[in-house]
């Protein structure tokens, strides 16, 4: 029986039941209150999804209450993301207060990307469960060790970490007797740059810097410039305006070929990104990851797994947007 669990991005409370029934073991979502949106929303977003025109966050406390009821009924946990890379000094007490309110409602685990926020919460004596976000910074075993005193319960490895790197880091911490969960990206939204090193806007009215048209040219010698426009990743399906047919599985990023290596590395949770994606897409994606895990259960050999998984999930060919390119034979 496989041990890796699926953690799925949730854009609104209404999708929770559907995602659970599709096979998600847990969900994560953002929570941005109206008070925050009114005071800081424009220039200091509470988390990385700073758009207003999409349902990418839980936005009202009453929605959290509704979600709590669902979590109690279905028993699949929901982690709340507070994953801006930094905050302004006056915002830390506001965030601590908001997190305390969420805890009162029964939400106990939070995904943080700003080390200062983690430090602040612990200094305030808040004992919530903390997941170190994939956007916290580069994670190597020394970085993980440095933050152990602040008691994180899960490390989410950043995108662009190899399974071998994760394995080495996990092995080191296990040897130290550290009890921790480990999460890796498995599907959707592979960015061309690293989230923890990305300081640009992700707002409604402007394109992302990573998606601005560019030319591959010379440093000091004029060459024929090759024009490129990244249209593959960055936005959610809804943001790309795809309404009708579902886009192909893995179009914006896929790590399903690497599941055997991730499992062997000690990964406990697979991240299925897509807060705010169409619920139909997310449901399809959750079912796909669940099927891949089931295949992995049945076919232990990595090569045979990849062959069978591709036959079942990518019969028409895969989009080749690989999270773990070069780590296994294609």
């Amino acid at each position: 029986m496989h041990t890796m669990k699926i953690t799925a991005g949730l854009g609104c409370a209404d999708d929770y039941i559907r995602f659970c029934e599709a096979g998600a073991d847990e969900c994560f979502c953002g929570y941005v209150s109206l008070a925050w949106a009114e005071r800081y929303g424009l220039l200091s977003p509470l988390n990385r999804r700073e758009v207003n025109f999409y349902n990418v966050q839980i936005g009202a406390k009453s929605e959290l209450e509704i979600l709590r009821g669902m979590v109690q009924a279905y028993g699949k946990r929901v982690h709340l993301t507070f994953n801006s890379l930094f905050y302004a000094p006056e915002q830390y007490p506001v965030l601590a207060d908001t997190i305390a309110q969420c805890m009162e409602l029964g939400f106990e685990s939070f995904i943080l990307a700003d080390p200062a926020l983690l430090v602040y919460l612990r200094q305030q004596g808040m004992d919530c469960e903390v997941h170190i976000s994939g956007e916290f910074g580069e994670i190597n075993h020394c970085a993980a060790e440095a933050f152990l005193p602040l008691a994180p319960s899960r490390i989410i490895f950043p995108r662009k970490n190899s399974a071998a790197d994760m394995a080495q880091c996990i092995a080191y911490l296990k040897e130290k007797g550290v009890s921790m969960e480990y999460e890796a990206f498995a599907l959707n939204e592979l960015c061309q740059f690293s989230g923890s090193f990305c300081n640009s806007f992700h707002c409604d009215e402007l394109g992302h810097l990573c998606r601005t048209p560019y030319w591959l040219g010379g440093v000091d010698r004029e060459e024929e410039c090759v024009w490129e426009l990244d249209s593959g990743s960055g936005d959610t399906a809804e943001q790309r305006g795809e309404e009708e047919a579902l886009p192909p599985l893995g179009l914006t990023g896929c790590g399903l070929c690497a599941l055997p290596e991730l499992g062997q590395a000690g990964i406990t949770h697979l991240k299925l990104v897509g807060r705010g994606n169409y619920a139909d897409c997310m449901e399809r994606d959750i079912r796909a990851v669940r099927l891949a895990l089931n295949i992995l259960d049945d076919v232990r050999d990595a090569g045979a797994y990849r062959k069978e998984m591709k036959r079942r999930l990518f019969a028409g060919g895969c989009p080749k947007q690989c999270y773990y390119l070069g780590e296994y034979p294609l």
């Binding site: 109206l34 008070a35 949106a37 424009l42 220039l43 207003n52 025109f53 349902n55 966050q57 936005g59 009202a60 009453s62 509704i66 930094f86 302004a88 000094p89 700003d114 080390p115 200062a116 200094q123 910074g137 075993h141 020394c142 970085a143 993980a144 440095a146 662009k160 970490n161 190899s162 790197d165 061309q192 740059f193 690293s194 923890s196 090193f197 990305c198 300081n199 640009s200 806007f201 707002c203 009215e205 402007l206 394109g207 810097l209 990573c210 601005t212 048209p213 560019y214 030319w215 591959l216 040219g217 010379g218 440093v219 000091d220 010698r221 060459e223 490129e228 990244d230 943001q239 305006g241």
Partner: protein, 465 residues
């Protein structure tokens, strides 16, 4: 339960429209001109006042509408929530609802075109039509920008109280440093970077930065690295080591490098700065503070940096560098971007006590920042906006697609010959594994450096990519 149907738009995003009843924030689940529905887990709180907040995307603010005349009907009840229908004939509600529908519809239509630049033109006047214009080479754009900087700074003076450092962040500059002595190197560096006519070129170089904060493949080989250290010592230059973020597989190598650097310092009785860009390296340094002083690197000192700032709602039209500098208390706009966790004493204390970090590397990034207490360095004129742990340039040159990234073990340094060029008006460039913006004001107006010097910055670091 039967209730009146309003046939409204379902699930308008909460960030566009929210409802407050008493102390409770509620989601509007259906919106129409004659009313709306909200839902909550239990009973609707006692209803003294209903307040709706409508988002105005053009201004980036909310407009509140207080409902005075309304009726409420209990609606559908599910296992998890109960809906309530609020009906009103209030004119300001109808107006705001109509406006919100139009804005929402407009946004969705623009998004459906699939062109971000066009959408930005329609929403904020972004010059989409200029996206086709770009320089022919990276050097050409640098030449044009530096000429403007020199013209702008003519007759100005490099502020007192600031030391000057230059980055040897690639083989090209390291080789020049090893080949040329003192003023000869400085003259060659300013000339190669089109800054010979700038007041900054008249200031002696006090320090060199060796390595690269963003790309691990641009760190020098052992022999060259120590040759540069020796040369700097002979020239009387201070040295700051720039260490890029280390991935797990690079940690052994990182430990070895730090051991060698520490030994070199110990033998010579020198303490050297080491700029760290991952917490693991900072942690490794904790036993070596007597010879290697950890400094917070650019990738760990995070803030909002984007060449689109002049078009961003809330920033457009605002003074990025106020004429009265720190004397002017701005509200909103760039003021909101000016501080980060480093401006909080609790975090500075944590960094000092846990990692021994008291000095921070900052960047001129197009607006005036609040300088944290202490003595820090300001990098200019380029600022990092995006970095990839794998290399987009390698992927573009080797795989034929910037998105086909993978770990690179033997790098042929495509960045010696290639760069990503961007629309000229944006003032940005793609070098090695990162994107950089260009601060057009910082070299043109040395008054800004004077502001920073007064606020606690004691060093300017020139990095020309």
């Amino acid at each position: 339960m039967n209730r009146k149907k309003i046939n409204g738009a379902p699930m308008i995003p909460f960030a566009l429209l929210a409802c407050r009843i008493g102390e409770s924030e509620l989601r509007v689940t259906e919106l129409a001109a004659e009313g709306f529905t909200v839902r909550c887990a239990g009973e609707l709180p006692p209803c003294e006042e209903i307040m709706l907040s409508f988002y105005h995307s053009g201004a980036g603010t909310y407009r509140r509408v207080r409902l005075r005349e309304y009726t409420i009907e209990a609606g559908e009840e599910t296992h998890f929530f109960r809906e309530y229908l609020v009906l009103t004939k209030q004119e300001d509600y109808r107006q705001e609802t109509g406006r919100l529908f139009r804005e929402y519809q407009n946004y969705i239509s623009l998004k459906m075109t699939g062109d971000d630049g066009y959408l930005s033109r329609e929403l904020v006047g972004y010059p989409w039509e200029r996206e086709e214009e770009h320089f022919r080479t990276f050097e050409e754009q640098k030449r044009v920008w530096m000429r403007e900087a020199c013209e702008g700074a003519a007759g100005q003076k490099f502020p007192d109280g600031l030391a000057l450092a230059v980055c040897l962040d690639s083989a090209k500059w390291r080789e020049a440093y090893l080949r040329l002595d003192g003023e000869e190197f400085a003259a060659a560096y300013w000339a190669a970077n089109h800054l010979s006519g700038h007041p900054i070129a008249g200031h002696p170089v006090d320090r060199i930065y060796v390595g690269n904060q963003f790309c691990s493949h641009l760190f020098p080989e052992e022999e060259e690295f120590f040759a540069v250290l020796e040369k700097a010592r002979a020239q009387g230059h201070g040295v700051t080591l720039m260490l890029p973020a280390a991935q797990e597989r690079q940690m052994q190598e990182r430990v070895r490098l730090l051991e060698m650097a520490a030994e070199w310092c110990e033998k010579r009785g020198i303490r050297m700065e080491a700029v760290v860009n991952d917490w693991g390296t900072a942690w490794l340094l904790r036993d070596r503070h007597s010879v290697l002083e950890p400094v917070l690197g650019i990738l760990l000192n995070r803030r909002r940096k984007d060449v689109h700032s002049p078009y961003k709602i809330g920033l457009a039209g605002r003074e990025a560098y106020p004429r009265d500098g720190y004397g002017l208390e701005q509200q909103g706009g760039f003021q909101e971007l000016s501080g980060t966790g480093l401006n909080s004493a609790f975090y500075r204390t944590y960094l000092r006590e846990t990692f021994g970090i008291a000095r921070y590397e900052m960047e001129a990034c197009g607006y005036l920042q609040k300088i944290p207490e202490g003595r820090h360095s300001l990098h200019l004129p380029f600022y990092q906006t995006n970095t990839s742990a794998y290399c987009p340039l390698y992927a573009a040159c080797h795989e034929g697609s910037r998105g086909r990234q993978r770990p690179v073990f033997a790098c042929p340094e495509y960045c010696r010959t290639h760069a990503f060029l961007y629309p000229s008006h944006l003032g940005m460039a793609g070098r090695y594994n990162s994107l950089f913006g260009y601060d057009r004001d910082i070299l043109r107006s040395l008054r800004i450096l004077g502001e920073y010097a007064r606020a606690g910055m004691d060093r300017v670091v020139i990095g020309m990519l």
